[in-house]
Every structure is written in C-alpha cells, then in structure tokens.
C-alpha cells in the first residue's frame, strides 16, 4: 500500500485519471456529433475502448497497491490467458495435449514464481532451455509425428511471446538499481504507461491523419502518419516522465524511443500472425480491444528489451 502514497506514484496515477476523464468527455462529445453509420461504428468502438481502459487502469492500480505480489499475479494471469488465446488459434493435435498441460500448469506458474522469489538465473533460462527441451520430448513420446516440427515450434513460440517476454515486465521489480531501492514499481508503471500511450497515440494519429499505409498486407490500420505521430509523441511523454525513473531526461527519451519502436514491432508481428490465421482478434475478453494478446502485443516485445537495457546500464 505504501507505494501508492509515494508522491511520484500519486502524480502518475493522477495524470492517468485526468487523461481517462478527458478521453471519456471527448468520446461523449464525439458520440453526440457522429453522423452516418460508419462514423457511428468507429465512435462506438472508441467509447468501448475508453470504457475498457477505465477497467484496465483500475485493475492495474489494485495490482500496484498490493505491492510486488499483486503485479506478479496480474501479469501471470495475463500470460495464462494470452497463451490460451495463442494456442486456441494454433492448430495443435491430440499428441500435443500432455505437453500443453505441462506448459499451462507447470511452466507458466513456475516462471512467475521465479520472479516472486527473485531467482534471476533460472528465470532467464527456464523457458528458452528447459521448456524448449522438455516439451518436444513429451510430444514425441505421444507418437504423433504429423507436422511435428511445426507444432512444437508454434507451442514454443507462443510460450516465448506470451509468457517469457511478458514476465519481464514484473521482473523489473527484482532489479537492484542503486539509489532507486524500493521504487521499482514506478519503473513498471513507466513501461506500461509509455507502451500503452504509444499504442493509443498511434491509433489517434492514424485515425485522424493516417493516409499512407506502412504494411497494407499485414495491417490496414497502420499508417506512416500514425506511426511517426505516435512514436514521437509517446517518446516525448516518456522523456517528460524522467522524474519517475532512475534515468536522466535524455536517457528517458532514448528508453522511451526504444520501448515505442518495439511496441510497434510487437503489434506488427502479431498482426501478421492473425492475418496468417485469418482472424481479426485473438479473443473477445476486452470490449473494443479484442483479446488480452491483442492488448499486450506491444508489451510482449518492449518488456524484455527495456528490462535488459535497464539491467545492463543501471544496475
């Protein structure tokens, strides 16, 4: 609970609250002014997204308030659901059943347990080494060799992106940064805030000014205008929030730029996967956004790199 009364945390949460109120007000005005079926649909989706943002921010606030354990649990649950969504749309076979059971009920809890007990060495190799070697063995034992390599590769990839990568966000809590002791929750907040606001800003710039498509075959919604506007403004925001981090303003700008670029990559890669599978969203859990994996695709890519840059340069 103490972390919530930390002045910088109060400022961050206060800022988010103001943004949410502002967004809801704008959504309300747009809703009253929208004419035509297509515009109405866009605004309706926008308002659904804003409502979902309120819920997501509230959940995040509760997790932060309960200290490290709450955040670890929250990200663990998100990984669990994201992996569910990933495997649901991946064609696995009967022979993968036992391997998947191990992935869900052994490797996911264990990965987050390692974060909770601060065991960095094992945390960083559990999935790339032990899951990587064990799961295909279990699948091979089932005897079904049809598309074997494809199936094991997909399961491993899903585990890497939705569990291993995501777990690097709460892992920020275990870094020992000199002069920043006990304040790591701020760093986690910073990562989530910069990544998500970059997503939102890319969406806003794309919807209002977007013309030239970046990768029309992958995602028709990604435009150069949205990309540049979103990345630049989110980087600006990230550097303006330097006071909540162990970074100088210039370092914060560099970090924010890296985070936002990786967030963009995450969205692009996940779009390519969805396009390949012929689906629009990974799930339906979050109104207006799709599934959990649709919402955290940018965190998947940004979290591990942000974690390691911070670990390398600041601990």
């Amino acid at each position: 609970m103490r972390i919530l009364t930390e002045p910088r945390m109060v400022w961050l949460f206060g800022g988010v609250l103001v943004l949410l109120v502002l967004a809801s007000a704008i959504g309300w005005v747009l809703d009253r002014r929208a004419r035509g079926e297509k515009a109405r649909a866009v605004i309706e989706n926008l308002n659904a997204r804003i409502r979902a943002w309120w819920v997501m921010c509230a959940v995040f606030a509760v997790a932060t308030a309960t200290g490290g354990l709450g955040s670890i649990l929250l990200f663990g649950l998100m990984s669990f659901v994201a992996f569910r969504e990933f495997v649901t749309m991946t064609p696995t076979r009967r022979g993968d059943h036992r391997a998947l059971f191990w992935a869900f009920f052994f490797f996911i809890p264990l990965q987050y347990w390692l974060v909770a007990v601060d065991w960095y060495g094992m945390f960083s190799i559990l999935i790339p080494i032990y899951a990587f070697l064990f799961l295909p063995t279990r699948t091979a034992m089932s005897g079904d060799t049809e598309k074997f390599l494809e199936r094991t590769a997909k399961i491993q990839w899903g585990l890497m992106v939705s569990v291993y990568c995501v777990s690097h966000a709460p892992a920020l809590l275990m870094l020992d940064i000199p002069g920043f002791e006990g304040q790591n929750a701020l760093l986690l907040f910073y990562l989530v805030l910069v990544v998500q606001s970059s997503d939102v800003l890319q969406y806003v710039f794309g919807k209002t000014m977007g013309r030239r498509k970046i990768a029309p075959d992958v995602s028709p919604n990604k435009t150069w205008e949205g990309f540049l506007g979103g990345i630049l403004s989110a980087t600006l925001l990230g550097s303006a929030l330097w006071w909540a981090t162990p970074f100088t303003p210039l370092q914060a700008a560099g970090m924010a730029l890296v985070i936002t670029l990786l967030g963009f990559s995450g969205g692009l890669v996940m779009s390519a996967i969805k396009r390949d599978r012929g689906i629009k969203d990974f799930g339906t859990l979050i109104e207006g956004h799709g599934g959990i994996l649709d919402r955290i695709d940018s965190i998947c890519f940004a979290a591990p790199v942000f974690f390691h840059l911070t670990r390398f340069f600041f601990t």
Partner: protein, 204 residues
C-alpha cells in the same frame, strides 16, 4: 434440491473458467419453447458446456440425453446425471430403438427441451460421424418441436476422449437455424439434411 443446484452452479462456474465457451446464436434466439438441441460429440465436456451456454430459465427446462450404461450407476456420476442435469438416461445397447424414442418423447413431456448427440458416441472431433436414426423418429413423433443444430468447437482439444487432464483453451458453441422433418422426407434424406446443417455451422 438445493445440493443439486449448488453442484450445478459450481459445475457451470468451473466449466466457464476452464473452457471459456462463447455462445453464438447464429440461426435462432434463446427461448424456453420446447426444442431438441442436437450437437456433435467429442468430449465429456460437451453436454455441460452446451448446458452452461443456455440462459438459466432455458437451462432449467433442458435435459441432456445420456447413456444408461455410462451414467446410470450410483455415486457421483449417478448424482450428477439424475439430480444436477436431470438427464434422460437411454439404453444404447440397441435392443429396441423404438422404445428409446418413445422414452425420450415421453420424458420431454410438454415443457422440457432435450440435448441429443445423434452420433451416438464421442468421436475424435475431426470428422462428424453419420447420425443414428433416433433423431428422425423423434422428430416424426414430435412434429411440433424444433430441432436446433449446435456446433461445439475446440472441446475435443480441451478434454479429448481418453484424457483426464484438461488443457484450458477457449471454445465456442454455435446455435443454428431450427429444422423439422418434412412430411415427404425419407429417413436418409432428413438425417443427411440435419448433418449438413450441423456441418455448415462450423466456423470458416
């Protein structure tokens, strides 16, 4: 009664958590009117998942049809079948198919709907087996009742035949447009039509 309701609620909660079923009413709306839901069968979870996708007032009036040899005993299985699901137990040893249909029609009465798996047994989930003729005879016997095709997706991956440990993927349950056996239709024609109606529901 209260113990059965509690067990039913628990079972539905667990099922939702485990299978995340998404109900899609494609061809009809939920209704308390008498209906015969017929679905593909590839997991022990099928009946309870379908049941959990019905709104509570509809659910209370809907009884799954289950095999007497499997669910007829005592203990937990018997309790679930009799008290929680109010299953209609049928003898599938094949002695007298007419008697089975009569028993079903009688058990439905004038208010209850039923859930039927016309393949007769659980498959692998890859292919829909030919339908048993009971569906046709039942529709002939109760020409006033709609038959609703229900396609269950992914449950064979969550709990396949022969496994006891579930893998918690998401599933979906699609309800198609109602149909009835036509006056002029032969048994083969009708079963073919019903099977195709179910196959068409499978997501693209």
């Amino acid at each position: 009664m209260s113990l059965a309701r509690l067990a039913g609620g628990l079972l539905i909660g667990t099922t939702r958590l485990l299978c995340g079923p998404q109900a899609r009413w494609v061809g009809c709306e939920p209704s308390t009117r008498q209906r015969i839901y017929f679905a593909n069968h590839c997991s022990h979870l099928d009946a309870v998942v379908l049941w959990s996708c019905l709104p509570p007032p509809v659910r209370r009036l809907t009884r799954p049809v289950a095999a007497l040899d499997y669910w007829g005993g005592g203990g937990l299985k018997g309790f679930l079948a009799r008290e929680v699901f109010r299953s209609i137990l049928v003898d599938r040893s094949g002695a007298d198919p007419r008697a089975v249909v009569d028993h079903l029609a009688e058990s439905m009465g004038q208010a209850d709907s039923i859930i039927l798996f016309p393949e007769g047994t659980r498959g692998t989930g890859e292919e829909l087996a030919p339908f048993k003729s009971g569906l046709y005879h039942l529709s002939r016997k109760r020409p006033d009742v709609d038959l609703v095709p229900v396609s269950m997706q992914n449950l064979n991956r969550i709990l396949p035949k022969g496994e006891i440990l579930p893998v918690p993927l998401f599933s979906s349950v699609s309800f198609g447009a109602p149909l009835r056996a036509e006056e002029s239709e032969s048994k083969t024609e009708f079963l073919q039509r019903a099977r195709e109606a179910l196959l068409r529901l499978v997501e693209p």
